[in-house]
Symmetry: C2
DNA sequence: TGACAGAACGAACGATCGTTCTAAATTAGG
DNA sequence: CCTAATTTAGAACGATCGTTCGTTCTGTCA
């Protein structure tokens, strides 16, 4: 009853790595089994279908994101420092989890944005949770008096997401060495306008 | 000698639509042939390999993007109006090409960002061209005196890309009805800081 | 109209997909 | 240590993948 859980974890960990390269749909039980030196059927037995494997993989990736990115960021003091910590922690994610190729969720998002089903529903819920957490962090910063009262926290979260997506695009696809500097500049500008500008957003 | 080219075009058009949903890797000769009511081998004969088909599909999508988005935008008067036209034209893309599900290039980018090869190389070149075109448009706006001389045009292009990626994410995956408004607000803020702020970027 | 090139087809290939079954190996508890 | 339960392996399934082959249509131009 213990050994099973162990290999299950190992399978999921490898599945996340693999899916971050080839996507959730590109995941293949055969190659996954070969990578782990398991038999196809042996691996399959742990899940009852491929979709179940994909779903568990999605959950596993989310849990690891929370551990590596979200939780550390929330340790920062409330207000702008925590907002900044979210950004820095997020930006630092590739270094904290160096096994992956590209962001798992970016891959999943572009795959699932047109394929209804349980997988998509789960991913959407996750993304909304994450956006809401950012929104609340910003909202707190407003209440602390760190950011302008007229600031729209949801717009801030949306814009921050865009910064991260652009960073991913520039660094992963274009291999732009300036990607990180660009992301920091964009974030600084976002934060600056959030401090004092009622017009911006 | 004429009939062939015609069906070739039809194949590629359908391929772009399909690939915007399932990705370039998810493209399947069998399903594509069924969709077009062609035989698998008949379709295959037009290209000599699947990778060739994918490459041609990529080229076709790029050409259509130029026709529908780039060219109209460049008709606007130089300077900020043209910058704004690029944004508006880009944002309006889904309405101009309503057949697609999600952005073809977003799907391709997240698929190919970790898979070296001719496909990736071509896509990277395209993206760089597009970014460079935006950069030059911005640069012109600076020379016209519309934007601040200290503005970094490449950063502007990068940030604009982020806005579009966030828009795509919000509208496609999250089905957020505010997506377009959010994109407009982000663009306005970007443009505002580009007009007068030497600090932002 | 006849001839020839080009376009489309149908069948088949080896490989791999997800999945199912049964048997063997391994593990855990009494 | 033995037994029962769990975990893995192996073989096979129907389907589909990309690709090849030879053949049959179908347009095009002399």
């Amino acid at each position: 009853m213990r050994k099973g859980q162990l290999t299950r974890q190992a399978i999921l960990q490898r599945a996340v790595q693999l899916a971050s390269k080839v996507g959730l749909a590109g995941l293949t039980i055969g190659t996954l089994a070969d990578d782990l030196e398991l038999s196809k059927s042996g691996l399959f037995a742990h899940f009852q279908s491929k979709e179940a494997l994909q779903l568990k993989t999605l959950e596993f990736a989310a849990a690891s994101f929370v551990d590596l990115v979200v939780r550390p960021a929330l340790a920062a003091p409330r207000g702008v420092p925590r907002v900044r910590a979210v950004f820095e922690s997020w930006l630092d994610w590739p270094r904290r989890d160096p096994l992956q190729g590209g962001c798992f969720f970016v891959a999943a998002a572009s795959e699932l944005d047109d394929r209804p089903g349980a997988l998509r529903d789960r991913l959407v819920a996750m993304q909304k949770d994450w956006l809401e957490l950012i929104t609340n962090t910003v909202r707190t910063a407003i209440l602390e008096g760190h950011l302008h009262p007229a600031l729209d926290p949801e717009q801030f979260a949306h814009d921050l997401y865009g910064i991260m997506l652009a960073y991913h695009h520039a660094s992963r696809l274009l291999a732009d060495p300036e990607a990180e500097r660009r992301a920091r500049r964009a974030f600084d500008r976002l934060l600056l306008s959030a401090r004092s500008a009622p017009s911006g957003n």
